[in-house]
Amino acid sequence: MASASWRQFKAILRKDLVMEMRTHEMITSMGLYAILTMVVYQIALTEAGEALDVRLVMPGLIWVAFIFMSLLGLNRSFVHEKDQGCIDALLLSPVDRPVIFFAKFSGNLLFLLAVEVLSLPVFAFLFLQGREGISNPIWLLGVVMLAASVGISGVGTLLATMTVNTSGKDILLAVVFVPLMYPLLRAAVGATFAAVIGGPGSIETFWSWMAWVAGFDVIMLLVAFGLYEFVIGA
């Protein structure tokens, strides 16, 4: 049974990956969105010029970009399922509902991480040149991005499954998703700030924020997982 679930999981995940390989729709739109966000940042920061140390606001700025990017991706990922009737087929087939959740969640997580990893160097290239770099080891940033993206994708998968069936769709997704993500984002920005700025005690600060991220991930994933069966069947 376990191996059957694993095969089903792989099949659904592969479907999403293959579709992405053929269309490049997700990565292109999310990546372009990330770059557009940077352009908007340039407008927002331009008058502050040299007076502003971009490093101080960078942790917030990258998470703003990531959260809105994830909204775009989550919405896309279910619009396809719905428009092409794929979700109905999935529900008709003898696949356990939790398997569907974990497969969609993993797909969304992979796309989000891919775009995050691509856009971070772009951000550094555009805004951090000639400034001090990231003070603490860079893998710490990887830890926050991975941990927070797990929470974002988990709750996002649940909420996008709901909002794709509503009249508001992407706008409604933002309305329900952003406030729910507040505690996670706050902790992620805190951890990123500690990693970027450094200084004495910053590693401890980093891990204490990470404890919040991890705790939130666990609670939110469990609740999202528990609710998914009801939501997808409705």
Partner: protein, 230 residues
């Protein structure tokens, strides 16, 4: 005595108690003073703000509670209860926000401060509003009930965070009750507070029950329309 009668009684009692607490605030409870001896009149709002805030957390719990019950039983009556609990929450949350903002201006000199308690409570307000936005954008009734229940449960996670945040994080929001050393109230203040709190909870119950009654009558009317009108 049926539920509606109890609700009416609660409404009257709650009204009397909260009004009584209002007068007790000014004529009996000691005025708290600033360290320099000036009387802190702004503190009087405490007897409204805190009861209504605590009631809002409690009522919001019922949104999640009935959400779980609905998902377990698929009985639509529980969804109606969850919806009404959220309506009462919205009322209480807005009252908390309004009184909080007034007090913030008096005590801190600014209308708003992005500090942990205020921020998490603001998020709670947005979540309660989002609950209704979500309900309104789902057409299918069965689906609406499921989505609203799921979202209500998720949204409730913010309530304990907002409640305990002043104890966890550095916050300038006062912790009056059980906040460790230096917290707590003198007896007349405590009694006034308890009267206000009990009155507020009664009002919450009464609002909830009366709205529920109204909704039930509406549903019965709809059902009758179908039977009679064919």
């Amino acid at each position: 005595m049926n539920r509606t009668k109890i609700a009416k009684l609660m409404l009257a009692l709650g009204g009397v108690l909260t009004t009584a607490a209002f007068f007790m605030t000014f004529f009996w409870a000691n005025a708290s003073t600033f360290p320099d001896g000036r009387i802190d009149f702004g503190q009087k709002i405490f007897y409204f703000h805190v009861p209504v805030a605590e009631a809002s957390f409690l009522v919001f719990f019922f949104t999640a509670f009935y959400g779980v019950k609905f998902l377990m039983t698929k009985d639509r009556r529980f969804d109606t209860r969850a919806k009404i609990a959220t309506e009462v929450t919205l009322l209480f949350v807005l009252l908390t926000m309004a009184t909080g903002i007034l007090w913030t201006k008096v005590a801190w000199g600014v209308w708003w401060l992005w500090e942990p308690r205020l921020t998490t409570y603001f998020i709670l307000t947005l979540l309660v509003i989002a609950y209704f936005v979500l309900r309104n954008s789902v057409e299918d009734e069965e689906r609406r009930a499921v989505y609203a229940s799921a979202f209500g449960i998720l949204a409730f996670i913010d309530a304990p965070i907002s409640f305990f945040i002043t104890r966890w994080a550095e916050s300038v929001h006062p912790v009056v009750l059980a906040g460790g050393e230096g917290s707590g109230l003198e007896t007349p203040m405590l009694i006034t507070f308890i009267v206000a709190q009990v009155g507020m909870l009664m009002l919450g119950y009464a609002f909830y029950e009366m709205r529920l009654h109204e909704e039930e009558i509406k549903e019965r009317l709809e059902a009758l329309k179908v039977t009679v009108g064919g």
